[in-house]
């Protein structure tokens, strides 16, 4: 500190041949995990933390968040109660209408809903279409063996077929999943995080939990930035691909560092809270006020639910 030490040779590059024969995309591949992390953190920031859609005027955005939460949850419960797939369809249509009325680009909305969970569900449910996995009335016989086929201890029956029950169950499950995810996405896209949290108080969730939730949301961002720094620092230092073993050690040590840092950080945050009067009893205020429009929306949702559930029970 007291004297400016001369920079060592290896740093200044004097008297050393430097390798400059590097071509992009050659050996300095980003390790897969670093890539995942960077991608994910970008995704989080772009799609989740941006509250662009939520601050745009629109049907759902203008609703009182408490009313919206109650309504959306009732719809979710309804979706989970229905037994006939064709009754879920109008509910799915309803989410599309609400999305459009909330000025959400349908392309973005549909992509966001369908991209992950429904596709994943389709893969999961696929084997259950076959009579080998789940017995049922054959809808389409793919192969008739003509005799009892056994595989070790399992008996596979006399034919391979897609069953009526399998298809019905699969359609029902996928529709249920898609509509549930749609409702969740609508809620998340059109509600500012701070409002969503405060509206949780409708369900008498203890204030401390609401406070913790709100702080967590904020720290995810911070930790992602920290993790991103650690990873970019490493990628920029690394020459050549790393072995899985190195990768594992590296991830573990970054996680360890991250844990240590964040633990120390929480002390600092605690200090900042106490300094402004926090004593373990959070105060949560909101200025929500319901308007007739909110109740009107809730009433229509309730009516829709009643009709659909009624229909479902009638149809058996």
């Amino acid at each position: 500190m007291t004297e400016d030490a001369a920079l060592p040779d290896w740093l200044t590059g004097h008297g050393r041949k430097r390798s400059r024969d590097w071509t992009p995309g050659d050996s300095r591949r980003q390790s897969a995990i670093a890539g995942t992390l960077l991608g994910l953190s970008r995704l989080v920031r772009d799609s989740v933390f941006s509250e662009k859609i939520a601050s745009r005027p629109g049907l759902l955005q203008n609703l009182d968040p408490r009313i919206k939460l109650v309504g959306m949850l009732s719809l979710l419960v309804t979706v989970s109660l229905l037994r006939n797939w064709y009754l879920i369809l109008p509910l799915y249509g309803f989410t599309l209408v609400m999305a459009a009325a909330s000025r959400i680009s349908l392309k973005l909305y549909i992509r966001r809903v369908w991209l992950f969970v429904p596709i994943f569900t389709a893969i999961i449910v696929f084997p259950s279409l076959f009579n080998v996995v789940r017995p049922g009335d054959p809808l389409w016989v793919i192969r008739d063996f003509g005799h009892q086929v056994t595989l070790g201890p399992w008996s596979l029956g006399t034919s391979l077929a897609i069953t009526y029950q399998g298809v019905k169950g699969a359609v029902l499950l996928i529709l249920r999943v898609v509509t549930s995810v749609s409702l969740g996405v609508l809620l998340a896209l059109t509600t500012r995080w701070a409002d969503l949290l405060k509206s949780l108080r409708v369900f008498h969730i203890p204030r401390v939990f609401v406070l913790i939730l709100s702080m967590t949301y904020r720290y995810i961002f911070l930790l992602l930035a920290m993790a991103e720094d650690i990873f970019t620092a490493r990628t920029s230092r690394m020459v050549g691909p790393s072995s899985p073993r190195e990768d594992r050690r590296f991830i573990a040590s970054s996680m360890g560092t991250l844990l240590g840092k964040s633990h120390a950080f929480s002390d600092e945050v605690y200090g900042a809270m106490v300094s402004r009067g926090y004593n373990g009893e959070p105060v949560i205020s909101h200025s929500f006020r319901t308007r007739p429009a909110d109740w009107f929306w809730l009433a229509s949702v309730t009516l829709a639910i009643a009709i659909i559930i009624g229909g479902d029970r009638l149809l058996g």
Binding site: M1, T2, D4, R45, F49, E51, S55, R192, W193, A194, L197, S214, M215, Y217, R218, Y219, F221, L222, F265, E268, V269, G271, A272, M273, V274, S275, R276, G277, Y278, N279, P282, V283, S285, S287
Partner: protein, 283 residues
Amino acid sequence: MADTTADTGAGAPVFRVDSVSYRYRETVALAGVSLTIGAGERVALLGANGSGKSTLLKMLDGLIFPDQGHIRALGHELSAEALKDDGFSRMFRQQVGFVFQNSDAQLFSPSVREEIAFGPLHLGLSLEEVGRRVDDTLHIMGLEQLADRPPYNLSGGEKKKVALASVLAISPDVFLFDEPTAGLDPKTVSFLERMVLQLSDAGKTVVTATQDLELARVIAERVLVLGEDHRLAGEGPPDEVLTDRELLLSSNLIHDHSHRHDERGLEHIHPHSHLTDHGHQHG
């Protein structure tokens, strides 16, 4: 030791720190520091990295407590015990505001508006009063456009402003600033300097920890220097302390080659001094 600290400044002491020591496990952060800060004073706390400035401020804010020694604040003993008393703790938190060195630690709410409301709400103000204070604070700090933004993706300077706003809204009588200008552009720095002077004119006590000698010169009427040995190395009016090359050198606030920075015009960016070099070497 306690008597050596001059009772300069106006009014009764806000803080009286008496031979205080503190360590974080093995690391010594403060080793027998004594000082007094009077009501309405503008004090700068200078010291190199790691000299214990932040630790001392946290102690003045009643967030950590001395291993040895005592602190009196606002006429009361400041201890973990004393702060357990709800009445005292509320009074103390209302009167003493602390702007942290690390804005990320200080900003934990989901929106700027809520960040600013946090203090007033937790100190028991009525909702209307909280709302009014938030609006006023947003206005004076010029943060209206950011009100509904989440604080995490603000720029460093904006974060610092929000942090300051969140403390201003409490309307404390004593402000503790920890490196308020680190990493800020010149315009924001001068904004902060003006803010400090305005607060001081309004009769507030302002204690600023910094390594920026220029800032100390502008905003302080008394300067305290924390040495690398975690003790008080010197104190006095800015024109005396900031020209005491010996003292500044020994506390690592400047170094022999600092004149070079002048030639390159690296003024506010660099923590090293340019001011004293003018005075002594070139002046």
